[in-house]
């Protein structure tokens, strides 16, 4: 009885399962460019004790996972699949080779994209970069029925059709118009109102003004600022990256990092002298000031030490005597000249501060626009059934209702 039951199981299994015989496997593996030895390796993963060289779908999957897992000693199958995907994506010249430069680009993009969200964000806590990522992402959409024939939407049927189409082998051979695909990719999912467009243009113009006013020496950056809005009034997609870079540059300017020309995280005496080259300050006097500021006597001024100096420079002494900043004994600086220099420093600092505040306010306005666009996308996706929200009111459980009855 037990034996017949097991045979019955075997028959039912045989009726429902499909398998590849050795010839099919060999032909396919030769077609994709593998040798017969490699194809034979795949056939070894047959776990059925039939004695025939054949594979069912699970055997094939096991074989693939085993091959991927043993390709590189330190990598699992999962790592290998992901690395293969990434190498294909970031292979700039398409030769199948990956050099260290391409791999650095890959790693940089990977780190950036992986740390964009932690998963604990709320709507209020999303920053500008996160909102920008959400609005630019190519969301998988479900075509609603109304768009086609004006009938009521049936997303379940659409999803089923899409699934069928993905499994249909013949359908995959049908050429898809590339222009249609490109149009679908380029078209943003959110709707940009006229007011938002005007606001965006004003924001870009504001950034251009700040850039030309405070960073005129950085010609390339100013060119990028001008390219933010084209002749047709289209705003560049890099507006967020640009605003962040602008803020970073202004902060650097504010904290004297621009003086650190060799980016060594400290200002050497040469760099310190270069700061006063235009003012004709005496070198020995500057040496004395430098030594006084250099508390740890390492010959390099750290950020905090320079900040202290900046603070001193911003506060002109009332009596016209400077006990803190010595400009040297040979050049007698009159109180009016000293006051003028201090006022210039103060004015510069004020300009940078006000520009930073202005950039912050522009970013806040930009965030409001992006938030509106992300919400527009969210409600569209909800309508299409791609994303869902839990019900606001919890329904009473049936058990409780029955007990009540």
């Amino acid at each position: 009885m037990i034996k017949s039951a097991s045979y019955a199981d075997l028959i039912s299994l045989a009726l429902t399962r499909r398998s590849l015989d050795g010839d099919e496997v060999l032909a396919e593996m030769t077609r994709i460019g593998l040798s017969s030895d490699q194809a034979t390796q795949i056939l070894q993963y047959n776990k059925n004790a039939t004695g025939h060289a054949e594979l069912d779908d699970q055997d094939l999957i096991n074989a693939l996972i085993h091959i991927f897992g043993n390709s590189i000693p330190s990598l699992s199958a999962s790592d290998m699949v992901t690395i293969g995907y990434l190498l294909n994506k970031y292979d700039e010249n398409g030769d199948g080779n990956m050099d260290l430069t391409e791999f650095r680009t890959l790693a940089l993009e990977l780190v950036r994209s992986s740390y964009t969200f932690t998963g604990r964000e709320t709507l209020d806590s999303l920053d500008l970069v996160q909102l920008d990522v959400l609005r630019k992402h190519q969301w998988k959409r479900r075509e609603t029925q109304e768009l086609k024939d004006g009938k009521e939407a049936n997303n379940a049927q659409n999803a089923m059709d899409a699934k069928k189409q993905s499994f249909d082998v013949e359908a995959t051979n049908e050429p898809v118009s590339s222009s249609e695909e490109e149009q679908a990719e380029d078209k943003p999912m959110y709707r940009e109102t006229k007011a938002q467009k005007k606001q965006l243009e004003a924001i870009c113009f504001g950034m251009q003004t700040i850039c030309c006013r405070l960073l005129p020496a950085d010609g390339e950056f100013c060119q990028r600022a001008k390219a933010l809005v084209d002749e047709d009034g289209h705003v560049s997609a890099d507006v967020v990256a640009f605003s962040l870079e602008l803020k970073s540059k202004l902060q650097n300017k504010q904290t004297f990092v621009d003086e650190d020309t060799d980016a060594s995280e400290g200002v050497s005496f040469q760099e310190f002298c270069a700061m006063f080259a235009s003012q004709g300050a005496d070198r020995s006097g500057l040496r004395a000031t430098f030594d006084r500021l250099d508390v740890n006597k390492k010959g390099i001024l750290k950020q905090s030490e320079l900040s202290m100096y900046m603070l001193e420079a911003k506060l002109p002494p009332d009596n016209g005597e400077s006990g803190t900043i010595s400009r040297g004994a040979s050049i007698k600086r009159t109180p009016s000249r000293r006051r003028r220099a201090s006022m210039d420093a103060l004015r510069n600092a004020k300009d940078v501060y006000s520009a930073l505040v202005e950039v912050e306010s522009l970013e806040t306005a930009l965030r409001e626009i992006f938030l509106g666009q992300v919400l527009d996308i969210a409600f569209k996706l909800q309508k299409e059934g791609v994303v869902a929200a839990p019900p606001l009111v919890r329904r009473k459980s049936k058990v409780w209702n029955y007990a009540r009855e």
Binding site: A14, L60, I67, S78, M98, D99
Partner: protein, 153 residues
């Protein structure tokens, strides 16, 4: 009796309950969008790789191209090179300017090309099943059925 619900409705409107409900709904939808985004763009392996290459928490996350933090950049490059060497051990024999690039092993790459470079193992399984359907031209149920009947007799 109808006065009480009407009063409740008016009170709710007065206190801005519909707006609050809309905000809550929007928040939930955006959270759901973030989940979808993470699902579509990151895998456990890519996170593992990123966390290995990425900078330690003690260093600031300044891995952008405009970074001036040389120590962080050097650390990032060191880690990247280490992972690169792990994937391509042959790179050890390359000189500083003589590396023409390396390839992953031939067999898995050819299979991955056939499977349209799946992003993770779940996608690999899905694509492998489709591949199986394409290969199995004769739908060979019969051979196994005959074999099973033979065994039974």
């Amino acid at each position: 009796m109808t006065g009480v619900p009407l009063l409740m409705l008016l009170l709710m409107r007065h206190n801005g309950v519909p707006r609050l409900a809309q905000e809550k709904l929007a928040g939930s939808l955006v959270t759901s969008m973030i989940g979808d985004y993470l699902k579509a763009t990151t895998t456990s392996s890519s996170l593992k790789l990123a966390s290995f290459v990425g900078l330690p928490p003690s260093m600031e996350k300044r891995v952008d191209s405009n970074s001036k933090d040389e120590a962080a950049d050097a650390e990032f490059e060191r880690r990247t090179e280490e992972v690169f060497l792990e994937i391509f051990p042959d790179h050890e024999h390359c000189g500083d300017d003589e590396c023409w690039g390396h390839q992953l092993p031939d067999m898995p790459m050819k299979i991955m090309q056939e499977l349209n470079y799946p992003i993770d193992v779940a996608a690999l399984v899905f694509e492998a099943r489709k591949w199986f359907s394409r290969i199995d031209l004769d739908g060979s149920r019969c051979a196994r059925f005959e074999m099973s009947c033979g065994d039974l007799l």
